[in-house]
Amino acid sequence: VTVDLAARGTERSVRAVEPAARPRSMFRRSPRRALRAGCVLLAAAAIHAHAQRAPAPSIAGTWFPASPAEAMRTTSGAVPPLTVEGQALYDERVAARRAGDVSFDRASWCASPGLPRIMFMPYPLEIVVDPRRIAILSGWYRRYRVIDMSGERLEVVFPTSMGVSTGRWRGTRLVVETVGLSPETVLDSAGLPHTADMRLTEQFALKDADTLEVRFTVVDPVYYARPWESVMTYRRLAGQHVRDDVCLDRIKSGEPAVRLSGEPAARFE
């Protein structure tokens, strides 16, 4: 059980912090002109009021991958362009998994799956938006990410599973750059490798009110011959929230540490 079904009010203030969500009014900028155009003012005020009642859809909310994937593929469906060195490591892991040895995968013992893998797993993700930072809460074992929105560069002191993420709004799109990712993690359940020098770019954009698309760009010259891109869409789980999940308790009860597939309904109350 990873999601709380209880709906709890609106997300008005969350939406208010995103540029696209702010209702715009020409009359705020030119009150004198607005006064001269009384009828236009009335009409515009009505539109303005309507906009306030129905703000633009937000990426804030709870989402579930539309097609959770064991193995990441490029946007054209191909295996990522591994270098010889990357291919050797990947083959080794694929063979180990086939033989039943998943110990290269930290998530199999409930350590953090890392990025971008946690974005592909069949667990809900809840996005909480503040002006200064954005949090992405995973329904998998309490993992969460914090994206700094200050616009400043943050130094990487040592690599971690979620790395150092900084974000910026480009219109309604959220662009997140992440560095400092620990090479102990894998990109996907299949075992795609990465180095500590990998740069990950994610672009979050709503396709419609209930569909979120995230495009991932991986740059890691040691293991990949060129930058490559992958994409995942998510469907909104309206009125639901990520709940506490303890992986160690789940594996104690015989459940897998990480599911490879499944509908969110299987993990909701």
Binding site: V1, A6, R8, G9, T10, E11, R12, S13, V14, R97, R98, D101, V102, S103, F104, D105, R106, A107, S108, W109, C110, S112, V128, V129, D130, R132, R133, A135, L137, R142, R143, Y144, V146, D148, S150, E152, L154, E155, V156, V157, F158, T160, M162, S189, A190, H241, R243, D244, V246, L248, D249, I251, K252, G254, P256, A257, V258, R259, L260, E269
Partner: protein
Amino acid sequence: MSRAPAHRACTRRLAVAATVGLLCCGTSALRPTAVNAQPTQAQPTQAQPPRAQSAQPESTIPRGPHEDPSLDARDFRGIWQALPMRTKRAFRLDDPPLTPIADALVRSYEALGRAGRIVASARTTCRAGAVNATLIPFDTVTILQNDEALTVLFASPNLVRRLWLDAAHPENLEPSYTGHSVARWEGDTLVVDTIGTNGIAEIDAGGAGIPSSTGLHMVERITKSADGRELDLDITITDPVVLSAPLKLMRRWQWASGERWVEEDCAENPRFDTAATEFFPRELFRPICKRVAGQGDATSRVVCEGAGNESR
């Protein structure tokens, strides 16, 4: 105090690890700096923490951008750092009013500790609860806030609390480590009511910590200082099974501009060198994973039999 169980591979600032080391037995991923370890000795009483010191020693701890606190008394957003708990024993509460059954349990664990056993706890086996995380956070506390809820991100222990504003507890509440928290404003004080904890996580954070029951009830009254730089938490905990009287505590979280959230990655880290001395108050705490020592250049691995990762 007993040594702590050997079940955590954790990343966190070593400044904290200096005091947390006894709790965190991970061997490979501690954060690499220990320059501003928080003192644990000769501290004032737990009833009222002192004002924060302003001196900032040099460090290689990851730093965040400067950030000014909001002066809005009802805006708790930002990054906070709890002042150290001032108690006689690290991570333990002083003289809690325990019921006879809880007192006997705690004393038995302490006796095991004195005999050299390592007493595992929910917190030291990566199952922290909302209560001990709130009372004894080791690292930053990041708060996001909107009309619906406050989202409280504890870096260490790795835990998320949601404080649902102007909401009611569900009727059929499924017990969990974090329980269910609802919050409302009384003037400029946020009153948080938490029930629904699962009785597994301890109230404090020692290896022989104060247990809890599913009847635990925590009320926090959180008030921001006029300069926006401190949150004072006035906490009352009742538990009909464990506590013979309400447990009243004060905590203070300090505005932490320049600090930055850094993850803790807590997972079983079974170590052969401590296995023989460990004691597990609950079978749940006993690890099912084994550490396989690497040979030659190979690194050690952790293998979880029955973890059943679906990837094959």
